[in-house]
């Protein structure tokens, strides 16, 4: 055979390389194989046919993927409006961190997913398309590409993508897994404030919510944190975020009950008690505020100084109010 004469006899090492290549091509990628062997509880087929499609223009797969996911989350954007927010002309592409930051700028919470195919299936099963980064080529000659996963078929072992100029690209799950693995298993779910992606963990969601709180208006971060309290009712951080956002909105009742829950939930009740005291003071309940602030200072810990300052301030204000009332 010519194959042998060229690669076997004359170039013995090459025949080994081709043998390995042939093996690699024949085996199924590990996570795909695990999915096939374990029969997961997710539905066998999902396709989010309502997901919009923006055919990308040259090198603009980042803006196209981002606009697709944002639209699916109910945020009205198009690739032309997000392109200036993510596209890096010299690199002819978009960086992952800027994709995340731009999703936030447009009023959504971008939440990184676990590096597992299963997480993608869970999100799609819950009706949420997922932005993925693939390296379509080989690791030493990368061709980076963002696509949006919109469905899968476990029986056919296929994944369905909005990708580049193709509205409905079906790709073998195994091939997808390899291209996605070469992209570092990077995937994000884009959620409108008030909804929590189905597969995400409490720390990864709250980290996303914290970053969101810094750039979003307080009414939006309130929605994001309230959603977290519904999913993780014992989460101190979710209640703190709810309280702080409500405080900024002057929704004193919401803030008060949130800080009370946070004080019960966390290991260290001082931050929540401190903020609760300030909330009570804002509604004119100065005596209650002082009592709570005293409890905060008594508990000690890293926020003790803040609590002492708050108590001193409340006592001073109370004294001031008392003297003005006497006059």
């Amino acid at each position: 055979m010519r194959f042998d004469s060229v690669f076997g006899a004359r170039f013995p090492p090459l025949s080994g390389v081709f043998f390995i290549l042939a093996c690699l091509a024949a085996c199924t990628a590990p996570q795909t194989r695990a999915l096939r062997d374990t029969a997961p509880s997710e539905p066998r087929q999902v396709e989010l046919t309502q997901t919009p499609f923006f055919p990308q223009s040259d090198f603009q797969c980042g803006p196209a993927a981002l606009a697709t996911a944002l639209r699916a989350a109910g945020i009205a954007v198009d690739p032309d409006s997000v392109a200036p927010q993510v596209f890096l002309p010299e690199r002819k592409g978009s960086l992952q961190l800027e994709m995340i930051a731009a999703a936030r700028r447009n009023g959504a919470l971008p939440v990184p997913l676990a590096p597992e195919l299963r997480a993608l299936l869970v999100e799609m099963g819950a009706g949420r398309p997922v932005i993925v980064l693939q390296n379509l080529s080989l690791s030493w000659a990368p061709i980076w590409h963002y696509a949006v996963a919109i469905g899968y078929d476990l029986d056919a072992s296929e994944i369905i993508l909005r990708s580049g100029r193709t509205r409905r690209l079906t790709m073998s799950m195994s091939t997808f897994e390899r291209t996605w693995a070469r992209g570092g298993y990077w995937a994000i779910a884009v959620a409108a404030p008030g909804s929590v992606p189905a597969s995400v963990s409490e720390p990864s969601y709250l980290q996303a919510a914290l970053a969101f709180e810094k750039v979003a208006p307080p009414d939006q971060s309130l929605l994001a944190y309230q959603a977290a309290t519904r999913r993780w009712p014992a989460s101190e951080l979710a209640w703190m975020g709810t309280g702080n956002s409500a405080f900024r909105l002057k929704q004193w009742q919401v803030a008060e009950s949130a800080f009370r829950r946070a004080a019960e939930s966390g290991k260290d009740p001082v931050p929540a008690l401190n903020n609760l005291a300030l909330t009570l003071e804002a509604t004119g309940r100065i005596d209650e505020a002082i009592e709570i602030a005293r409890r905060a200072t008594a508990a000690g810990g890293p926020f003790e100084t803040t609590a002492r300052e708050t108590l001193a301030e409340l006592l001073a204000r109370s004294a001031h109010t008392a003297t003005t009332e006497k006059q």
Binding site: G62, A101, A211, L237, G241, N275
Partner: protein, 125 residues
Amino acid sequence: MACVLAASMANVAMLPLANAGLVATEQVAAGFVSNGDSNRYRIEALFARPEIQAELIRRGVDPAEARKRVAALDDEEARTLVNHLDAMPAGASDVLTVLLVVFIVLLVTDILGLTKIFSFTRPIK
């Protein structure tokens, strides 16, 4: 230079102030989410932001847009980005490029006699 200065001043203003003694959510988060030493991160991020902005402008981003892009990054993202901007993948691929690469690879394998996709190729002897 003026842009960079203005940006760093804007960032100082963006630092969370000890507003009425309210403990910020992120201060509580310091021990919970994996952002380690948040004070150190915040300071590093403060210095990183003007640098990222300058780098974005150098890579063809409109200056006004670059400022907004930097502002949307959180502290940890800013720290990561400033150190690895050129090493990071930039998702870019144009599908035509991919097809072209596939075409050339198949053409070569055809010519080597490993595949037979195209009618016009003849394997080398």
